[in-house]
Symmetry: C2
Subunit: 455 residues, 2 copies
């Protein structure tokens, strides 16, 4: 039995009481978000039909720290502080001198990091007198989190789920309904956007872009209804920083300082949540970790995309954000890590990547599931398909340490469990999973659709 | 925000290092287990073909405490100590002055309490030079736990799952395979027992009794292979007492003493794991909780069964145990709490029930799921169908406290999450769940098959 602890836990009284806003510490500010009509920077009024003012303020604040409201802390306590694990058994199986830590968010009600932002979003909307939230969901993690959070604050929650996922993953639908949410397959006949799609193709499998359009349409039409987004935006990344703030305290308890931090990136909120507090320390010179984003080879926005203004949705209804993007028309190959199938990258992550503060790699699907199965058999947790990307990069780094003999400290974000993704593991174990890599031709075709914006 | 903590956590250094054996403290010993052929008490040699000597010794030891081996503690640390939660949000929703605590075992690799015994069973078998474990599984919780535990000690794990469940719950099969286990639908053509059933009925849906026969047959035929059981036996209940030992420490930290302890009972290991350490305190006079077992109205072994010698399996191959039983031929109605569909009750629980040290109630399925949904929407955890029985009894007790104004301390065992049982929630939410109560006629017919044994 090893002496070093397996779980580094914090008591509730040690839970951080503020989120960290990296904008306060960046050497240069990120480019402005533009109105799609005027191409001028968006103002608060442009967003007020969809979001409460507290969240709009958080989107643009320059304050280094934002206090977490008591009502949010009270719900966070259902699962936070989340555990930091030392992966003793994985280390032994790899024969590496590296010390591997993983911050586990699968203990939350939704089974992922998503409630970290769903709860404050529900709170601020309820405090502003809103009665109902709408949103879209793909694989379903975000929808589950918002349904749970809405139940805590007495809000109705109405979710449009991409029909292909809605039909394939009935357990997600039931989980959302168990938490009290209402879920519709998208496209639906409940919105003009949905009806327009159905008129052309009654059997449309839907897309995230269409589902966003439906949720936004309903929110914009009803004064008592707002819209909520689960990643990409600044305030979402802000809420997720509680992950990294806790991990900082926990690593200090373990007496270790990270040499390498790896996290998977889709929209980027899980990665930013872990990495940004450590990036603050890096910028302050108190530690110097390599910070590495890991994305799917089939949807490589950081490693292959262009840094340009683009829409957040397929239909082109959102403001324009400068980000690493594969083009808003891009439809990624159908890999199982649904949470990483997004054409763009959070503007804040794109910006720190341009500044050279983080690096990025891409991984193919089978290497990721191989790491996931190895992790399950040693550490006992079956990871969601998304964080298997980070685990694959962890294993790679740990094996490099085995070669070099370096006892590096590796920290990763294990954003969720895979209990509702077991079909993907079944496909992998039976040899039925394919690898997808984005070809140069497909990339060129996708980015050709980018809107023409100076800057 | 309430001041009292939501989670009462223990550090790894506070984890109990011994299991508690209630046999040392009982006012009278439980009746002997009998050999089915000779009707004389079984001896160690009768069990040696299936179990390692360390477990056979634990089955009969009179020592009050059994040390937990370091190798077992090292695996327990992946999820233990498990959290004790104060159900603040459920209390508020009920408007009760009661203080409700739940000890949550869903944080384990298998998502239930089952690894608490799977890990030591795998350890002792590996230490005895065994290469492979066989077992049966119904809904799949036990098979998942044994597959995980076997992977930790380099053992092969071969599982026979009741075919009806195997076909209905593909996610369980994949989870077991992800942990490295091998799973067969039962009846299978791999054993004489299975072939005999298939010869009569090639489309047999199987039963737990048939699956036990297959697993036992393979273990008995191969010297390098042993059999493992997930409940009922003394050593299984012993291993589960770490739940109650932790809860004792945690409640003391919270400054509370339980007035009522409720747990669900199938074979009885989850209930005993929580209750026996508190029963020790009750017998010693240091506290005086009411201890209440909650069983399904469709399978009410304690509240309607007879206390008699009976077989553990349907086929009548196991030793005879004196227990509360509905008859080994009894086939319970198909309720969703598969873990509670067992004809008998652990002999140790049956004995303390006869001694008047615990009480028992039965609950119907819909009341249980109603409590489960209420719990999910307030506390954020979707419970497995089995512990919803205990939650229904918790809610009942808390509402009695609301009537009387008594601020009772209620403690319950939340043995697992329901992520792989969402189909049952779907059926409940759509109004498709039926209630089943055992009729007097069905009971009379079932117990008529009991073997005739004096005593």
């Amino acid at each position: 039995m090893t002496d070093a602890a397996t779980k580094i836990v914090l008591s509730e009284s040690e839970m951080p009481r503020r989120w960290y806003n990296i904008m306060a510490d960046l050497p240069s500010p990120p480019p402005a978000v533009l109105h799609p009509g005027t191409l001028r920077p968006v103002g608060p009024d442009d967003l007020a039909a969809l979001f409460p003012m507290a969240l709009i303020e958080q989107e643009v604040t320059q304050e280094r720290y934002v206090p977490i409201p008591d009502e949010v802390l009270d719900v966070y306590r259902l699962w936070r502080p989340s555990p930091l694990f030392r992966a003793h058994r994985l280390e032994r199986a790899l024969g590496t001198p590296a010390r591997i830590y993983y911050k586990y968010e699968g203990v939350s009600p939704a089974g992922s990091h998503k409630p970290n932002t769903a709860v404050p979003q529900a709170h601020y909307n309820a405090a502003a007198g809103i009665r109902r939230l709408t949103t879209e969901t793909g694989a379903g993690q975000w929808g589950t989190a918002l349904a749970f959070a809405s139940a805590q604050f007495g809000l109705e929650c109405e979710i449009w789920q991409v029909r292909a996922s809605y039909d394939q993953k009935p357990y997600r639908k039931i989980m959302i309904e168990t938490f009290g949410g209402t879920i519709h397959p998208s496209p639906s006949d409940l919105t003009a956007a949905g009806r327009a799609v159905l008129a052309k193709d009654p059997a449309s499998p839907g897309s995230l872009g269409i589902a966003i359009s439906e949720a936004v349409e309903v929110a914009a039409q009803h004064p008592d209804t707002n819209y909520a987004l689960g990643s990409v935006l600044n305030h979402v990344l802000l809420h997720q920083t509680i992950i990294g703030e806790e991990a900082l305290l926990q690593l200090a308890k373990a007496g270790d300082v990270p040499d390498v931090i790896v996290g998977c990136t889709g929209g980027g909120s899980n990665f930013a949540g872990l990495a940004f507090p450590f990036l603050r320390e890096k910028l302050a010179g108190t530690m110097s970790p390599t910070i590495r984003a890991v994305e799917p080879a089939s949807c490589p926005s950081l490693t292959k995309g262009v840094y340009a203004y683009d829409f957040g949705d397929t239909a082109g209804m959102t403001p324009l954000m400068k980000m690493h993007t594969l083009g808003h028309d891009f439809i990624p190959d159908p890999i199982h890590a649904g949470g990483l199938r997004y054409h763009g990258m959070a503007p804040l992550i794109s910006h720190v990547y341009e500044l050279g503060l983080i690096e990025a790699v891409a991984k193919t699907q089978r290497e990721c599931f191989e790491a996931g199965v190895r992790f399950a058999r040693t550490e006992g947790i079956i990871p969601a398909p998304e964080p298997t990307h980070a685990l694959a990069a962890c294993v790679e780094e740990a094996l490099r340490c085995k070669e070099s003999g370096e006892p590096k400290v590796i920290l990763t974000a294990l954003g969720g469990h895979g209990h509702l993704d077991l079909a993907a593991y079944g496909a992998f174990l039976s040899g039925g999973l394919a690898d997808h890599e984005l070809s140069d031709e497909a990339l060129a075709a996708a980015v050709a659709t980018l809107p023409q914006v100076a800057g």
